[in-house]
Every structure is written in C-alpha cells, then in structure tokens.
C-alpha cells in the first residue's frame, strides 16, 4: 500500500524531471531537473531493496556527474545558445517516429497480454546477507574479470578526457 504510493511519487519525480530536462531553455535549469529525475530513480532502487545501487546513484550521479555537467556549463558559454532556437528544424519527424514506437509497443503489449507473462519466480530462501554483501560476493568472484576491465575503462576515460580538454599536450 505504502509501496504503491511511494512508487507513484517516485515515478512522478522521474518522468516529470525527465520531461522538464529536455524542454528547459537554460542548461543549468535542465541540469537541476536532471538531478530531480536521478533522485527519483535512486528512490525506485531503494523501493526495490537495492540499497547499494541507491547509494551509488546518489553519490555518483547526483554528486559526480552533475558537478561535471555544471562545470562544463560554466566553461562553455551557453548564454548565446539559450537565446537561439532550442529544437532542431525537423523535430516533428523525430517525435512522430517516437510516437510510432510507443504506439507499437503499447499495441503489442495489450494485444499479447496473455502471452506477456514473466517466468515463475524461483523459490529461493531469503539470504541472511545484506544487499551490499551479496553484491560484493558475486562481483569479486564471478565478475572479477569484468570488474578489473571496468577499472581499465575508467583509466582510459580519465586519460582520454584530460587529453581532450587540454589545449596543448
């Protein structure tokens, strides 16, 4: 009951924030609405008992990526861009295609309602470990190689962004 109320509240945050993100004229306002949307997503993670991802979402997205965006907005002069036309010339074509995709998805989901069923949930006993411990167990055993590769990816990203942003190497 309370879960349902919270779900709809967070869904409102997510979708409202997303819609305002892509319609604002000022990029700083966009960034602030993006924060609202990302906090909504974090709330949905918490609602689904993914506490670790909730913390990661808040720290990394709301704390990290948004600061990055705000820094770039500061470096790049956006005052001129805010005065210009905001949408591309043929935006209605893009929106029409998206509406088509949405209508198609909705049509097939409604039409195939009986076939649209999830596989039965396995009857696993609830683990005594917390969410973070469970994640760590899997991440550092089964997914050890991808984990290390992710660190290489981040290293490449750090070096790459410095090379990109620097005037002369």
């Amino acid at each position: 009951m309370l879960d349902t109320a919270f779900f709809y509240a967070f869904a409102l945050l997510v979708l409202g924030g997303a819609l305002l993100t892509i319609t604002q004229r000022n990029a700083v306002h966009s960034a602030i609405w993006l924060i609202v949307s990302l906090i909504g997503v974090a709330g949905l993670f918490l609602l689904q008992k993914a506490e670790f991802l909730f913390a990661v979402q808040i720290i990394l997205y709301v704390g990290g990526i948004m600061v990055l965006f705000l820094f770039v907005i500061m470096l790049v002069n956006l005052d001129e861009a805010a005065r210009e036309r905001q949408f591309r010339g043929r935006w209605w074509v893009a929106l029409g295609c998206l509406a088509l995709v949405a209508a198609e998805t909705a049509y097939f989901v409604i039409k195939g309602r009986d076939a649209f069923r999830f596989a039965p949930r396995p009857e696993t006993p609830a683990s005594p470990l917390g969410n973070t411990e469970q994640l760590a167990d899997v991440l550092f055993s089964t997914y050890l190689l991808p984990f290390e590769l992710a660190s290489v990816l981040l290293l490449v990203a750090i070096v790459g962004s410095v090379v990109m942003a620097k005037k002369r190497i």
């Binding site: 861009a81 935006w91 089964t142 962004s161 990109m164």
Partner: protein, 102 residues
C-alpha cells in the same frame, strides 16, 4: 491501490527511455543531448534492477553497476570532446557543428 508489479516498473522504464531518446533527437544544445543520454542509461538500470529484484538474483544489479561505470566514462569523455569542440568552433548547437560536412 493495486500492488506494484514488475510491469509497472517496465512501463516507467519504457517511458523514460522514450523521453531520453526524444531529448537526443530533438534538442540542439549538445550539453542537454548528453544529459538525455544519462536518462536513457537510467531507464536501462531501472529495468535491470526490476528483474534482479523479481528473480531474487543479484546479477542484474551487478550489470547495473557496470552500466553506471560506462555512463560515467561516457559523460567524462563526451564533455571533454565538447570542450575540445568548443575551442575549435565556439558553438554548442549540434546542427552547427558541420566541420566534416562537404
């Protein structure tokens, strides 16, 4: 009120994905296009966590962590490219950056 099922989360995820795609396709400001990309990746994460929770299987959440990692790398690199681009041609409008157009 009805209890929330995975289908609710999936519908929300589809809606967020469509909004993010609309932002990428329609906006001219490159900074906002990059923000829309974050929205798309978040829609994917909602999906992954939903199934992870439904099947009581943590692998979906591990995948979401990797998606977040890639999103961070993408944001850092994308904004770096944006700054490099801005130095060569002082505009952030996606359709005015046509240096490679013949």
């Amino acid at each position: 009120m009805h209890p929330v099922t995975p289908s609710h989360y999936l519908a929300l995820s589809v809606a967020l994905l469509l909004i993010g795609t609309a932002g990428v396709l329609v906006r001219r400001n490159l900074v906002i296009v990059l923000m829309s990309l974050e929205l798309i990746l978040n829609a994917v994460n909602i999906n992954l966590v939903t199934f992870s929770q439904y099947y009581q299987h943590t692998h979906g959440q591990i995948f979401a962590i990797f998606v977040i990692t890639v999103a961070v790398a993408e944001a850092a690199l994308g904004l770096g490219i944006l700054i490099a681009l801005f130095r060569n041609k002082p505009t952030v409008q996606a359709d005015e950056i046509d240096l490679l157009k013949w």
